[in-house]
């Protein structure tokens, strides 16, 4: 008799992954060096736009330890072009993207030559001996300037810096009304332009790749989020048969979209390993990560919103410019499109128009960064809600309540064409408001305003939803994405009754080994400890779509459920045979197959052994107890939540302090609350960092001036507050687990909550926007600017003129 196990789902299991990570027994790619490895170092362009007129590598070749030096020209025929898997429109302009520049560089940091040497230090030394002649070309860095007819071109052969324009119109799509009409007949209209600054994913483990060409297959270890996609893309772009490539993602130290890529360096290493016939290894320095790993965000967002006097939104028009940087990477053009579906957020908006123009500039390419398109959209709409509330003179929370989709209206077809399956914005918001002490803080704010306190209090709201669980493959196909979004899992019950789960997801800190163990243990009725989860190796886990975009649980976790259910189904047949009863008489519970109405039964482990021995199996049943499953959901999942932030803003110094941060997230069923809380915390840190600290800055020559962790301000523990997090639980109806996904919630929701709070603190002084990151200088400037303009244009203040007067001599 098996003892009854406690339910695993919802249990705060401590992670299986931790044991080796806290003791230092890890397998980062940089820990691996096969025998005979040559180390690579990459020479990068110091200039943003130039023709390469000559490269002399003779001296470098003679340097100690150097085996080979290659330029782009040397490997032009073999290196292919870096793939872009998302041609968003038929007329999209896509430049060739050689991993190693051939005769032109288009951003500072682009790879120009590569040295292979005995040691990494010798390889790096030799870089100094390579002589490159650059003939400078004019640089274009600003998206608006890049679209001017006389702008310098990043890629001459395209004849334009416009990559593509993608539009959605609700009247055309039949999902809603006509925006122009709504805007022109509006009782109230708000127009705003926001900037999404450029961010750097800044995972802590720098990228690293090792390629071993010896043996039947070429094996690549890489610090990647996407081993399966990487293998496919290497094969397609280099013409190497896919079955001859094995990609392994060992321990991977964070990604946040930054490792969702086929990088130039991976391709260069692959090509060189084949050419040299020896293992090669490349590990980047942090400065290389900053300048040559892809960046995120970088959009200009123009929004117009119309509403009735009593606060009902009637229309929303969104026009984006999105900076692609110098080249398209794997999914670069599609990132802003992901936002197209989220600008309407949780609101009932009757008319919607979205358009986005993607632009090439002489900067590092952009691509997915935590949330990818959705944080940008959520920021803009949540800022607009606050601006509309200010315009109408109502509490921003009231305005949201008036416009959101009510709990009893789900499922709800949105104006952007999605169907939100479930949600309860009321519950999450009520809980958040209570935890936050909304009323008391508003009163304190009033008091500070009245007294003209130099430190003002601001309250920021962000009620958000996002789409997770990418898949559905059918929808991705309709958006011209090059692949599906299904996920695969297989489960093997070993002859000893222990269980192996193979997943196509490829975790890099999310704790899949623990969570998938919980799911499998729960479904199969076996102890959590008896489950092993295998992942991140295309040979061990041959099918998969990897980990990004909070898709792993809602798609990959569901594949584990499907595989487990198939295993049980098969085991049932064998059990019925062993127990000599009809299949229908067997019932499965807590890892045991019992004959209905009797005390006869057999354990899963016994069935597994019988299936392995295969001495006596029922007709048509194959030996071994295992099953494969591929899951492709019908719909996305839609986590949502309410985030509230109180900031103290020093109007004299511009300093912003987060006084209180409360969030209530609804991510559907929770598998492991410990992991969920951790993901929310991490997301909050990133979102707050966008609001207050981080920005990739270029000087006018196109040099990244925030190229190290000394200049690019990742927050430390001292920069962040204690978060108050809680949850409500509305099951997703798009999968049987009821899960929605959590990885990006914190990032998406927190940025607008913080910026809304900063602006709210300063609104009485006439400030209605502060550009991100809201650094002390920017805040101070906004305050001073508003004071100055209030002298000439008194109506700009919108209230509390006394503060302007008081502030005049500060």
């Amino acid at each position: 008799m098996t003892s009854v196990l406690e339910p695993e789902l919802g249990r705060a299991r401590k992670r299986k992954e931790d044991a080796r990570l806290i003791t230092g027994r890890t397998r980062w790619t940089d820990n691996l060096t096969p025998m005979g490895t040559l180390h690579l170092a990459i020479l990068r362009s110091p200039v943003a736009h130039a023709r390469i007129t000559a490269i002399n590598t003779d001296e470098a070749r003679r340097m100690p330890g150097v085996s080979a030096v290659f330029t782009g020209r040397d490997i032009a025929d073999e290196q292919g072009s870096l793939p872009c898997a998302w041609p968003i429109t038929e007329d999209m302009k896509a430049p060739a993207a050689p991993p190693l520049a051939v005769d032109k560089v288009c951003f500072a940091g682009e790879a120009v030559a590569v040295v292979a040497a005995r040691s990494a230090a010798e390889a790096r030394d030799a870089l100094d001996a390579i002589d490159v002649d650059y003939e400078d070309l004019p640089v274009v860095l600003d998206m608006e300037a890049a679209l001017q007819p006389d702008s310098p071109l990043v890629h001459d052969d395209l004849g334009t810096n416009r990559n593509a324009t993608w539009t959605f119109d609700s009247a055309e799509a039949g999902t809603g009304g006509d925006v122009e009409q709504a805007l022109s007949s509006a009782e109230v209209r708000v127009d705003r332009t926001f900037r999404q600054q450029r961010l750097i994913p800044a995972f802590m483990e720098p990228r690293s790749v090792v390629v071993d060409p010896t043996g039947e297959q070429i094996t690549m270890w890489s610090a990647t989020q996407v081993p399966h996609i990487l293998r496919l893309m290497l094969s397609m772009s280099l013409g190497v048969p896919e079955q001859k490539i094995r990609v392994i993602a060992p321990d991977v130290g964070g990604g946040f979209g930054g490792k969702l890529q086929v990088t130039p360096e991976e391709v260069i290493a692959f090509v060189l390993a084949r050419k040299l016939g020896r293992p090669v290894k490349w590990t980047e320095s942090r400065s290389e990560t900053m300048v040559s790993g892809h960046h995120g965000r970088d959009q200009i967002q123009k929004l117009s919103m119309s509403a009735t006097r009593d606060g009902k939104i009637t229309g929303l028009k969104v026009g984006l410019l999105a900076d692609m940087g110098a080249y398209l990477r794997l999914v670069t053009p599609g990132i802003p499109i992901l936002g197209a579906f989220m600008f309407n957020a949780i609101y009932k908006i009757p008319a919607y128009h979205f358009s986005c123009t993607n632009v090439f500039t002489n900067k590092t390419p952009t691509d997915a960064y935590r949330g990818a398109g959705r944080p940008e959209a959520t920021f803009a709409i949540e800022r607009m809600m606050d601006e509309l509330a200010a315009e109408l003179g109502v509490d921003p929370m009231e305005l949201r309540r008036k416009n959101w989709i009510a709990h009893d209206e789900f499922p709800y077809d949105t104006v952007a064409g999605l169907t939100y399956d479930s949600g309860n914005y009321e519950a999450a918001t009520d809980k958040a408001v209570e935890l936050f002490g909304y009323q008391a803080l508003r009163e304190e704010q009033e008091e500070r305003r009245r007294s003209g306190d130099p430190v003002q209090l601001g309250i920021g709201i962000s009620t958000f939803t996002e789409m997770c669980g990418l898949a559905p493959s059918r929808v991705l196909g309709s958006l011209s994405y090059g692949a599906g979004g299904w996920e695969h899992a297989s489960i093997r019950v070993l002859p000893t009754g222990k269980v192996e789960v193979v997943t196509g997801t490829s975790p890099h800190g999310q704790g899949h080994v623990t969570a998938w163990s919980q799911i499998a243990a729960d479904r199969l009725g076996v102890p959590f400890e008896d489950v092993e989860v295998l992942h991140g190796d295309t040979q061990i886990s041959p099918k998969g779509m990897d980990t990004y975009g909070s898709r792993s649980l809602a798609v990959g976790g569901m594949a584990v459920v499907s595989a487990a259910d198939k295993v049980v189904e098969k085991a049932k047949k064998i059990a019925a045979h062993l127990l000599e009863c009809a299949d229908d008489d067997v019932e499965f519970a807590s890892g045991r197959f019992g004959v209905r109405g009797t005390d006869r039964g057999t354990a899963l482990a016994e069935v597994a052994l019988a299936a392995f021995a295969a001495h006596d199996l029922p007709e048509g049943v194959e030996p071994n107890l295992d099953a494969d499953a591929t899951f492709d959901p019908e719909n996305f999942s839609f986590p949502h939540g309410t985030h509230l932030c109180a900031t103290e803003v020093d109007t004299e110094t511009g300093e912003v302090k987060i006084r209180k941060y409360v969030c209530v997230d609804d991510i559907g069923t929770v598998i492991n609350p410990l992991i969920v809380e951790g993901q929310v915390h991490g997301g909050l840190a990133q979102g707050i960092a966008q609001a207050l600290f981080e920005e990739a800055v270029y000087d006018e020559t196109g040099t990244l001036t925030t190229g190290t962790l000394a200049d690019y301000l990742i927050p430390s523990a001292a920069d962040l507050p204690e978060f108050i997090t809680d949850r409500t639980e509305t099951r997703a109806t798009s999968n049987v687990l009821g899960v929605k996904g959590v990885g990006e919630a914190g990032t998406i929701a927190s940025t607008p909550a913080v910026v809304n709070a900063v602006v709210d603190a300063l609104r009485p002084m006439g400030v209605n926007d502060v550009q991100m990151p809201c650094s002390p200088q920017r805040v101070w400037r906004a305050v001073t600017g508003a004071r100055e303009s209030s002298v000439t244009a008194p109506e700009a203040g919108g209230g509390l003129g006394s503060m302007d007067v008081q502030g005049g001599n500060r």
């Binding site: 806290i22 890890t26 483990e205 991977v252 964070g254 942090r286 410990l674 430390s716 204690e722």
Partner: protein
């Protein structure tokens, strides 16, 4: 090439190293102590933090030759006889890591902090860990873990994990004097029995 003798995690190593070799490279590439990792090239991230004679240092900003004649403790030297150090246990119990890349550095830095301040409040922890960056956790659980470990290591928490009474502000915990021969300090420091 200079010759150095370094005691790392209780074992003495003698090696010839290039003068420019960093301590972190020496630990990783020569000794295979791959628990210590490199996250940046500007000594900002703290991923490479180890102890040199009991004090935390960023091993990417120390040359291997500077460690000559000194004691180094890495995260791999903390667990004893298969038992985790209370800080390691606290990181696990409080889910203070996700990808784990920053974790060894965090643990080594926290150990130094707890040697200085036995019962730090959250602000002291946050400031004490300021030089160690984490991109995954948002730090809250790291702060919890350090606080939790400080409790586990308090007087009354059991003989093996107590701070030495009366030596509270001056006595270094065990990793400051690595190696098993110092049973004295092991009892007064951060080790579990």
């Amino acid at each position: 090439m200079p010759r150095i003798t370094v005691n790392v995690d209780g074992t003495e190593y003698t090696d010839e190293v290039e003068p420019r070799m960093l301590l972190v490279q020496y630990l990783r590439e020569r000794l295979g102590k791959v628990g210590t990792v490199v996250g940046c090239d500007t000594s900002n991230c703290g991923a490479c933090t180890v102890h040199l004679d009991g004090h935390s240092v960023k091993s990417c900003s120390v040359l291997a030759v500077q460690a000559d004649g000194h004691d180094v403790t890495t995260v791999e030297g903390l667990a004893q006889d298969g038992r985790l150090h209370p800080l390691q246990q606290a990181f696990h119990d409080n889910h203070a890591l996700q990808c784990g890349f920053c974790t060894p550095g965090m643990i080594m830095q926290a150990l130094d902090l707890l040697a200085e301040v036995h019962e730090p409040d959250d602000q002291q922890i946050r400031e004490g860990m300021e030089g160690n960056l984490c991109r995954c956790t948002g730090y809250q659980n790291i702060v919890r873990a350090v606080r939790d470990a400080s409790q586990r290591m308090q007087p009354g928490a059991g003989p093996a994990v107590e701070h030495a009474p009366g030596e509270a502000q001056s006595q270094a915990p065990v990793p400051r004097t690595p190696a098993d021969e110092h049973v004295e300090t092991r009892v007064t420091g951060g080790r579990q029995s």
